[in-house]
């Protein structure tokens, strides 16, 4: 049973998180030991994929320099980018494989660890069937690795259950864009943002989660563009909003349908565009009929005239863009929410031309590239469908196997954890995923993990999930392996390796290929480098929607990024989609989709009267495995606090800094209050990057969107009460004692 072999305290003592405060050799070291080289590559934290130059000396990353020639960010970086280099040469870095023993984790030889992993996978499959083993991937993996992992799961392991942590991130948007447009990508390059006249940002904390996009928005305002922000919180970009819509958590769809109602009522739709390039308008127009302003206002808590003004501003201009992110997508109607945005943009004919379009803001490092080439449960490379017979035949040919050998679609990420909990799945091989922190209902996840008969983890740090593992394979950081990434814009970029993995740690792709060989499928995994994988990926994606055939490392370097689809080496790439008004659907038209309002899966009531919404802070990334180890970032926002409006705080006798127990139908956690007027009084907010007793995901629930299967992180029902300061738990230890250096 996959339970941590030692106490959390002991494991933290051994593996961290410890805080790294200084570069290798200390702050002054560079003066006497300057860098040997500057490597132009990218930040590993978030889907913006900013260009950055890493300073390298003797196979260590000792600092950074802005990369001002990279067109997306032109040298700009957020604090995570600035301190990105501190994850390297970290005292917590796993340097060799580890295997669990009675006494704790013991170092193992690679052969032993890999042989054991392969043996356990095959034993469990022999006993319980092929699909008793599941694979978890992640959207911070390079595109090559995510391609490799999809092939590895289906061919080498032979399971249908592979999914990835992008299931917690981009799938609502992806599902909606595929339904409407037949393609899962931002419809615009970011250079369109400053050119638009009305910019509508809904459910996107851009200042903190996509910081560089702020500059694009401010430049839009410099050009006298108008900014509308819809969010339950005044996020940092709201400071310059021309119109702020304080939408109640989970009610975005009603806001969007209310806006479309106004467009229909006032006959503001673009009839010619609708007639020539779309299907399904009449049904959608009819479906918003009952969403008049007072209905929409009552559901959303946004004033009727503000909803009307937003609709008018979007309609009564030549160019408008609507941007959305997890706020909209992390709901049990996440797909419908995105469709609500798309319906508005299609109705207005603001698609497929400069300064126009709906767009999603991809969150994870390779959130775009990682969801294109087959690590999703229902997907084959090139954004092909695993259920499409032609796609199956094509990929089976590329892989040199019989089509019948390709499994059918398996479970999504949360469904895999549910099946582990239910005993249906017995083994898990996980890379680039920390489900114990990032999946909802963390106590359920912990229970599920402890029921596994085998857990194999590839990671560079001992994540909270890896503590449950039978085998931890020491993998590689972003800067240690070559690969492609794809940014939020759809720009394919080149992660140039700066250093090699330290100690006995290995490149992730090498580990997976080694395992494939041990599982008896070495013939299909002849790869000796990421370049070999890319060559196969190019062919596998050829003719698919996400066509990478024309993309090589050299072209990406030369063009500073290539926008896919890029079907040939001569093709320039496709920064803006649909310029020819042709969509990637069967009939070439954009498809309006009817949306239906329904309440959240965890409704507020008398016992749980307050909405809980969760999200990110600028100084942390995802489950914090990397960023909770970087001292400067942790100091910036040291612990999760619960944001509460003063009106509610007064009602409960809570003052800023008081300890507050936040309870939901799952669990209760205690955090300090941050009393601010920048959140709706009926809502509290907690960032989710922390583990253990302060993990926001102990509170969230496992309701999924029926189509995208994304969890509803943005809407839970909770109650709060003031409490005394708790005893510090194991996660509250002052990790700094063991860290490197001082401030």
């Amino acid at each position: 049973m996959a339970k941590p072999p030692r106490s959390p305290e002991a494991l933290i003592e051994q593996f961290g998180p410890r805080l790294s405060f200084t570069p290798p050799g200390g702050w002054q070291n560079e003066a006497t030991h300057p860098a040997d080289k500057l490597v132009k590559t990218h930040c590993c934290f978030c889907g913006q994929q900013c260009g950055i130059q890493l300073k390298v000396r003797e196979n260590m990353i000792i600092g950074f320099e802005p990369w001002e020639d990279f067109p997306f960010n032109r040298g700009m970086l957020c604090p995570k980018g600035v301190k990105r280099y501190m994850q390297s040469s970290h005292p917590d870095r796993l340097m060799q494989p580890l295997m669990r023993s009675e006494q704790g984790f013991r170092p193992a030889r690679w052969d032993e660890a890999l042989d054991f992993t392969a043996k356990r996978i095959r034993e469990i499959q022999a006993q319980y069937g092929k699909d008793a083993v599941a694979v978890y991937g992640g959207a911070s993996l390079s595109t090559e690795k995510s391609y490799l992992l999809g092939k590895f799961a289906r061919l080498a392991i032979g399971t249908r259950h592979i999914d990835y942590n992008g299931r917690l991130c981009m799938v609502s948007a992806g599902t909606a864009y595929k339904l409407a447009f037949g393609i899962d990508r931002s419809t615009i390059p970011w250079s369109d943002i400053p050119k638009t006249q009305t910019l509508f940002v809904i459910g996107a904390n851009i200042g903190e989660c996509a910081p560089i996009t702020t500059d694009y928005i401010w430049r839009c305002r410099d050009n006298r563009g108008r900014l509308i922000v819809a969010d339950p919180r005044m996020t940092p970009i709201t400071r310059n909003a021309d119109l702020y819509l304080p939408v109640r958590p989970g009610t975005d769809l009603a806001l969007l349908m209310g806006m479309l109602h106004v467009i229909v009522r006032d006959k503001l739709e673009d009839r010619e565009f609708i007639r020539n390039y779309t299907t399904g308008w009449d049904e959608v127009a009819a479906s918003v009929q009952s969403y008049d302003l007072s209905t929409a206002a009552n559901i959303t808590g946004v004033p009727p005239d503000a909803i009307e003004k937003a609709a008018h501003w979007m309609a009564k201009c030549d160019r408008a863009i609507a941007m959305h992110a997890r706020g909209l997508e992390h709901q049990s109607k996440g797909v419908e929410n995105c469709l609500g945005v798309i319906n508005i943009m299609l109705a207005l004919g603001k698609v497929g031309r400069e300064g126009c379009g709906p767009t999603m803001i991809t969150g994870q490092g390779n959130g775009q590239g990682g969801r294109e080439h087959g690590q999703k449960c229902d997907q084959l490379p090139g954004q092909r469908s695993l259920t499409d017979p032609a796609a199956r035949r094509y990929i089976a040919d590329v892989w040199g196997i019989a089509e019948s050998e390709l499994p059918q679609p398996g479970y999504t990420a949360q469904e895999i954890m549910n099946a582990i909990h239910a005993g249906e799945i017995k083994a898990l091989f996980s890379i680039c995923f920390n489900p114990l922190v990032s999946l909802p209902d963390a106590n359920f996840t912990r229970q599920a993990l402890s029921r596994l008969e085998f857990l194999g983890v590839v990671d560079f740090f001992m994540s909270e999930t890896a503590r449950h593992a039978d085998v931890v394979l020491a993998g590689s950081l972003h800067e240690e392996e070559e690969g492609l990434g794809c940014s939020a814009e759809g720009r394919v970029i080149h992660w140039v390796p700066s250093i090699t993995p330290p100690g006995q740690a290995r490149r992730d792709s090498e580990i997976i290929v080694e395992l494939a060989h041990r599982l008896g499928r070495g013939e299909e995994f002849p790869f000796r480098s990421p370049r070999d994988i890319l060559e196969e990926l190019r062919v596998a994606s050829k003719g698919g929607v996400a066509d990478y055939y024309g993309i090589t490392y050299e072209r990406v370097d030369q063009q500073k990024g290539v926008f896919w689809p890029c079907p040939s080496l001569e093709h320039p790439g496709t920064p803006r989609l649909f310029e020819d008004r042709k969509f990637y659907t069967d009939d070439g038209k954009a498809h309006f989709q009817v949306t239906t309002w329904r309440p959240s899966g965890d409704p507020v009531d008398q016992d749980y009267p307050i909405y809980l919404t969760t999200g990110r802070v600028i100084s942390q990334y995802l489950s914090g495995t990397q960023t909770r180890r970087i001292g400067a970032l942790l100091e910036q926002y040291p612990e999760p606090r619960v944001e509460i409006h003063p009106r509610v705080a007064a009602q409960y006798g809570i003052q800023d800094g008081d300890y507050v127990a936040v309870g939901t139908r799952r669990d209760e956690i205690v955090l300090r209050a941050m009393v601010v007027r920048t959140i709706r009084p009926d809502t509290v907010f907690i960032p989710y990057h922390w583990a253990g007793v302060r993990s926001a995901n102990r509170l969230t629930h496992r309701t999924l969107d029926p189509r995208s299967k994304i969890p509803e992180y943005k809407v839970s029902a909770c109650r709060i009460r003031k409490v005394a300061a708790p005893d510090p738990g194991p996660d509250d230890r002052d990790a700094r004692r063991n860290g490197t250096g001082t401030r």
Binding site: E68, M76, L77, C78, P79, G207, I618, R743
Partner: protein, 195 residues
């Protein structure tokens, strides 16, 4: 950098602190950030401001220095105190109307933003303005700054002290200068007292 000027535009600041983190990565003072950053009043607002040295034409810090340790270059950049001269008396720290100089206790020396002299003197942009994701700190040609909906001011009134600066603060278009003293906004007659 020829033709480039430094602008601070608090209306663009998103409070990310990339400037603060990047400043301490500068080679001449690695590990020490010279940026001053604050939430204005977090309970009520998300507004934040990041400040670099304003590089005054007549620097108060230099004027009050008893050791003549603070020098302004011909290019208008006001430097950290000269280590051999600085007596760590804190006069500059107390006197600067913008609150910029920092006393480094370990070194017993005042250090401050020198507009990344090591970078700007060789044609590069200052670190903070290079990384700033919102370009609230911007090192740009004046023509570019003129396109913004805010306007630059370089005159500040602190009571009877009028300070002109090299660095510009971007403020709403309706204002010409910034004063924090109510008296500066009052009509006190034309000087003759008819009672």
């Amino acid at each position: 950098m020829f033709g480039y000027e430094f602008y601070i535009d608090p209306s663009r600041c998103i409070g990310c602190r990339a400037c603060l983190q990047a400043c301490e990565e500068c080679e001449t003072h690695r590990g020490k950030s010279m940026i001053n950053f604050d939430f204005l009043d977090r309970p009520s607002t998300i507004n934040t401001v990041a400040m670099v040295c304003m590089h005054c034409d007549e620097p108060t810090c230099a004027e009050v220095c008893p050791a003549d340790a603070i020098k302004k270059g011909e290019d208008g950049v006001v430097h950290s105190s000269l280590k051999p001269r600085c007596i760590a008396c804190n006069n500059c720290v107390l006197a600067c109307p913008f609150g910029i100089p920092k006393m480094m206790q370990d070194e017993q020396q005042m250090m401050k933003c020198d507009m990344c002299y090591d970078r700007t003197s060789i044609g590069r942009r200052p670190m903070c303005a290079t990384v700033c994701p919102s370009q609230a700190l911007a090192y740009i040609p004046p023509e570019e700054a003129a396109k913004r909906p805010t306007k630059p001011i370089q005159v500040f009134r602190f009571g009877n002290q009028i300070i002109t600066t090299k660095v510009a603060m971007m403020i709403p278009e309706a204002f010409d200068s910034v004063s924090i003293d109510v008296a500066d906004y009052m009509w006190e007659g034309n000087g003759s007292h008819d009672s």
